[in-house]
Amino acid sequence: MSVALANYIALSAVIFMIGAAGVVLRRNPLVMLMAIELMWNAANLAFVAYARASMNNAGHIFAFLVITVAAAEAAIGLAIVVIVFRRAEFVDVDEVSVLKG
């Protein structure tokens, strides 16, 4: 009844890829933010798994910090999404392209 560390890391890599794909493919800023949360969580899983493997709880601390930062980032990110899209017709990042060239 034991699980190889490699399995955890592989799982986290899969989540990371799914998250990256979400950022690139989705057009809804909220979903993009959620996809970014997935990427960060993938890193967290890797941290926790490696912490368990090396019995070093620095990984736990790191994951804890990441969660804290993610909370702050989500708050700011959502505030920005609100001010950008409050009066917009579409909630779609493709609509936000005044700056280019």
């Binding site: 950022v23 690139v24 990042v93 700056l99 280019k100």
Partner: protein, 668 residues
Amino acid sequence: MGIEGQYPLLFLIWLAPFAGAIVIWALGPKLKSWSGPIGCAAIGVSFVATLASWADAVRSGPAGATTVVGAHQTMVTWIKGFALGLLWDPLTLVWTLIITGVGFLIHFYSMGYMHGDRGYPRFFAYMNFFVFAMLTLVLADNFVVLLVGWGLVGLASFFLIGFWFERPSAVAAATKAFVMNVVGDVGILFAIFILVAVVGSVSFADAFAGVQAHAYNGQLLFIACAALFVGCAAKSAQVPLHSWLPDAMEGPTPVSALIHAATMVTAGVYLIARCWPMWQGSADARELVGVIGGLTALLGAILGIGQWDIKRILAYSTMSQIGYMIMGVGVGAYDGGVLHFFTHAFFKAQLFLTAGIVIHALHNEQDVRRMGGLRAREPFAFWSMLVATLSICGFPPLAGFFSKDAVVYETLVKGHPVLYAIGVLTAGITAYYMFRMVFITFFGTYRGEIDPSSLGIRHPELAGTSAGLLKHPHDEAAPHEEHAPAWLMTAPVAVLFVGTIFAGFLDLGGTNSFWYGLLQPVFGATIAPVEGAAPFSELASSALVFIVVLAGIGLAYLRYGSTAALRDSVARLRNESIRMFPLLTNAFYFDAAIDALFVRPSRAFGTFFGVVVDPLVIDGAVREARVSALWLGHLFRSFQTGLVRAYALTIVFGAAAFIVYYAVVGAH
């Protein structure tokens, strides 16, 4: 390069003009008419210190070390590994003598010429600043200080061309000169970058040692030389970066004499002579420089034929003569090229200063068609102009004869028969247009009271002539009566006679001559005479050139100087003015060809032809280069779509490339 030591006099030479500039700049309004003498004194101090340091410059190093000559003083360790210093060797000495010596005379002259001008103190501050900048350029022992001096002389030239900034034409000319000079600065900048990339140093000694050690692979040395030459071409008005020089005549005449004839425009010659080991290492570079120099000599002379403005005639002759110098140092005749610089400084300064006397006497008239018959009215100016003209034509035994023949013959010795032919032909054309000017100006009758239109002067403002329409501002401020005593202006010219007549004798005596003895330690064996390299002797060559020169003078005499020509000079000049195009068809088609190559015909043909084509050529070439670069710029812009997802995708791609690389590296 140079014997290491402490040479306090070098700092005196270098900084005295700077101190003068600062003092006059700061106290100008208080000094008023004293700023002239102070400016002169600063240059005078510099000149005396130069003479006092003569021995240091020609002192040879320890026995056997023939290449070590002169003095070298380390100033400051700029950054670790980059020491800056002053170099004082015969080459620098020659330039410093001219800069401070002729510079002093011209400063002295300016006290008379600029008398009563509102900007009198400002003028001397600028002039002193220019001398300081020029000395920075020639005293540098490394490319960085050289480049700083290079940029500063451009800046000083900008200020002085635009000295009468109330005139839009002066401001435009100053801007044009500045922009073209920046092009040259950038060329030198790249040469420095290449040198640093190759030898890891900015000092001359290391750069040249790199040539000896074959540190430059492939075409690198040629590229470095070419980049340097871009700087030389811009500063020395070589084709195709020459068009700023005629326009620069918008500045006061002493400025034209000092900066745009005697010193600054010869900086290109100095740089090539200074970097001769690099040119010795690259035959392609010598070829390039020689050809461009020859072309410039010929083109300048041809364009000189069609000018009516006395200063523009001299400007084109300057361009042509610098072409000779560049051709000389380009083919490897370094001593000849430098000698021509030396003699040219005298006779060209004399020509300009004399022209200044004439212009002054005629209340700022510059159009030769409205002169005439001045031989009796201004006898001093006439004799001065005649002697200097004979000298520039290469009439023996005047100074120009020795130096020009040396350059022309050396092209043959070094195996460039085409350049030799160009040199001989140009000598003839030079004689023609210079005597054309002398005959029109000093012979016949005075035409100043005649209606301009009957002389064919239709668009004086376009022709660049003043024709009484453009009064110098200082004239309005100060009436004619208040002019300074005449000797202030004639005395310096009288001194210049000495150089104009006798400077060439320095080269008399082959390898025993003073000149050879002075420069041989610098250039070593490269300037040693080679027996039997040319199909005929130097004497025969001189005879050939002399015949061609006589032919040119004769032609000028027939067209402008003979009794018949003088009798109906008004009609003839009018005729020539109107029929100017056919006369110069060739020069015109040359320009038009480049025009068609580079520029869309949308640009209107608005100005008189001598000036016309040059801005188009330059702007056109620049525009073409820009268009291709802009196309790439637009390509990159088109990636910047403004869509976040596209950006995210770009980043993912970059990340993917990184990941693949690290996967491969990690798995090896």
